[in-house]
Structure formats: C-alpha cells, structure tokens
Symmetry: C2
Subunit: 225 residues, 2 copies
C-alpha cells in the first residue's frame, strides 16, 4: 500500500516541507500504529515505518533502540490516543452509570467506520503474534488493555451498585468480557473483511449488559421497546 507521501515534491517547491524539528518521533509512531494494524508486527519492516513517516532509518534508530522498542512505544501511543477519544466521548457525560456503560458499547459501535485497519485494535493485533516471542510487547499490550478495561470497570461498578447489587459477577470480570467481545469482533470482522459482523456482536454485548443491569431495579424506569 503506497502512502500518499510517496509523491516527489513539485519541482518549484521553495522549501521542501520544513520538517519541524521534534516531529519525527510522533510521525514514526503514527506510521507504526497504522502499518502494524494493517500488516501485523512481524510483517512490518522498519523501512515500511520509515517510508510511512517520510523519514529514514537514521531517524528511526535515533529515536528507538530497536524495532521491538518502537512497537512498545507504539502501543503506548495508541493507548494514549484511545484514552483521549474515550475520555471526551459524549456518553461520558451521562449521570447514570448504566447509561454510561451502554453508551460505551454504542460508542464503540459508532466508531466502526472506515477501513478495517482504521478502527481495529493495535494491542490485540500485536498480542496475537508477539505474546510468546516478545515479552515486552505482550506486557505493554496487557497493561494498556487492562487500563482501558479498568475505566470501563469503574462505570460498571457504579452501575452494579445501583442496578444489580447482588450480581454474580465482579465489575472487573464483566469489563474484561466487554474487551473480549470487542477483540473477538475485530477478529471476525477481519476474517469477513467487513465491519457488519462486529456491529452484530456489539448488539449482543449490549443486550447482555442490559439484562445484567436491569433498568427496573433502581430509580430510573425504562419502557420496553
């Protein structure tokens, strides 16, 4: 997949793109996230990432000691970007924790847009192929998946207190389940080359969460459709 920055600059370009000075690392990380999501970690070469970032190997190995270190940094970069997306998502404004939990699923469904590599998860992708051979990558993916799950678990815990105080499950366990569904939905979407199956999975996940946090069990009341 040729990137758009392959094109040579126009002959009359006065300043060949003033490369701002501290930008290279971020560009490399952005490129790494995109390309690894599309091709996987092992199949992605350092040159691929450099080409995607419009830089050279000199820059790459100036910022990262190795390809593996770049992958770990890319996991952190991806997680940070994701966190800011979810932190500012509209569903976060709901007062009712149950609404936030269901809103999370709706939001995840809403962002199943564009091409597959644009909405699938770098962490799940790298985990699958590096979990045994690259411990540092595995640990990074585990950590950031866990941190995201912990955010979901907070809302679930609050909702549980209000709507299902006697539930059999723990908030952490249910939060991890939501992540499993999401990761699995991505796998199926990749296999089928389409996001529709992932949306269906999120519908099932929402239905499960609705039954486990029954709306009638607390003060808010909800009508059946």
């Amino acid at each position: 997949m040729p990137s758009t920055s392959d094109l040579p600059p126009p002959p009359n370009a006065p300043a060949p793109a003033p490369p701002r000075r501290g930008e290279a690392r971020a560009k490399l990380l952005d490129a790494a996230v995109d390309i690894i999501r599309a091709q996987g970690y092992a199949a992605t070469t350092v040159d691929d990432i450099c080409r995607g970032a419009g830089l050279t190997k000199g820059a790459f190995f100036h910022h990262f000691a190795s390809k593996e270190e770049c992958a770990v940094a890319a996991a952190a970069h991806f997680a940070a970007r994701a966190q800011s997306v979810f932190e500012t998502a509209p569903y976060r404004g709901a007062v009712d924790p149950r609404a936030r939990v269901l809103g999370y699923v709706d939001f995840r469904k809403a962002i199943l847009q564009g091409a597959l590599p644009q909405f699938t998860c770098l962490l799940g992708t790298m985990t699958q192929e590096a979990y045994q051979t690259h411990p540092a990558i595995r640990a990074a993916c585990d950590r950031y998946i866990g941190e995201h799950a912990a955010c979901v678990a907070e809302d679930i815990a609050a909702a549980r207190r209000l709507y299902a105080p006697g539930a059999e499950w723990t908030p952490d366990s249910l939060a991890l389940f939501t992540q499993a569904v999401i990761q699995g939905a991505f796998v199926l979407a990749k296999a089928r080359h389409g996001a529709a199956v992932a949306a269906d999975c999120l519908d099932h996940l929402r239905r499960y969460l609705e039954t486990q946090l029954p709306a009638g069990a607390a003060k808010p009341r909800r009508k059946a459709p």
Copy 2:
C-alpha cells in the same frame, strides 16, 4: 512439545522404525499448526516448520508450492482436527438443544488446558496478521470459522424454536457472537499469559445464553395449545 505422533496409531501397525514414506505432509502440517499458533504466521519461517517436522526444505517445497499455500493447508488441517474433536464431544449426545448449546460453552471451557499455543485458535491468529496481505489465508480462515459457527448455529436454532421463539436475534448472529467471545478470550489470555480470563469470559457467555434461552420458557413440543 512437538506433537509428532498426535495421530492415533493403528492398533497393529507394522511400524517400521524409519519414518514411513507418506507421512511428511502430515508432519509438516502438524508442525505448521503448532509453530504458527505460538509465533504467528509472518514470524514463522519455512525452516522453523521443517525443523519442527524433522524434515528439510526439499520436502516442504515438494508438498507446498509456497509458504502461503502451506498456511492455507494448515488452516484446513486445523479445522478438520477441531471438527472431529467437537463432533465426538460428550455434549453432542444431549437431546435438548439448549443443553447442547450450553454444553458447547462448557466444553470449550474444559479444553482450556495446557500451554496457550495448545488451545488457542490458529484461524484467529492467522486472520489478525494476514487479513490484508494474504487474501487466500484470510479466505480460508473465514471459511473454517464460518463452518464451525454454522454447526453451533444449528443447535442454537433448535433451542430458539423451543425456548425463545420470539427472540430478537437470529441463530447465525448469536453463533457468530459465541465465536467472537471465544476469539476475544484467546486474545486476552495471550495478553495476560494465562487462561483464567478466558474461562471468566466463557462464564459470561454462558450466562448470556441462559438468559436468551430461558429454561422455564420451554414450549410444549409438537402440540400447540
């Protein structure tokens, strides 16, 4: 670790000590399944597979035109082995389709034994890294995941007729959801380096299936009131 003799040997095999002459292909496929599940497709070299099978590159390229063709054959090999496992599993004997659906989840939970590469899914692993770069592998994984889901969907359809005739979901959609949970559970298990989280996910899946196929709702069979 290298399960060279997984196949049940014939009871009265003449068993000449030297490796029998038509065995190489099966050994290569067994090795490919094992190693790709542990390392991923791209990180697995042809030499790795040959070493795992105790053979040489000459043998490999005698049986497969390319590494990719071997991966496609390995997917088929893996799917065939899995199919025979599930076909003969005890839960298949249940008369009640609901019991078969729940028994399927219990069985999947029961086989979360041993090291991670031994129970995770080759199809999901290869899909994640090859879905864009190796169309033939993607298609094979899609096909075999779909065929397995279709088997699950049969039981779900029968259970739905009896226990949830008015359910919102289709059997196919719910069957795919079970596969998503399983694939996602594998991803989390790999990230955490342990199968416990996968078992938790299967508990949630079972709970969802129980609520969607309510046991008390069994309609009188055959005769309508």
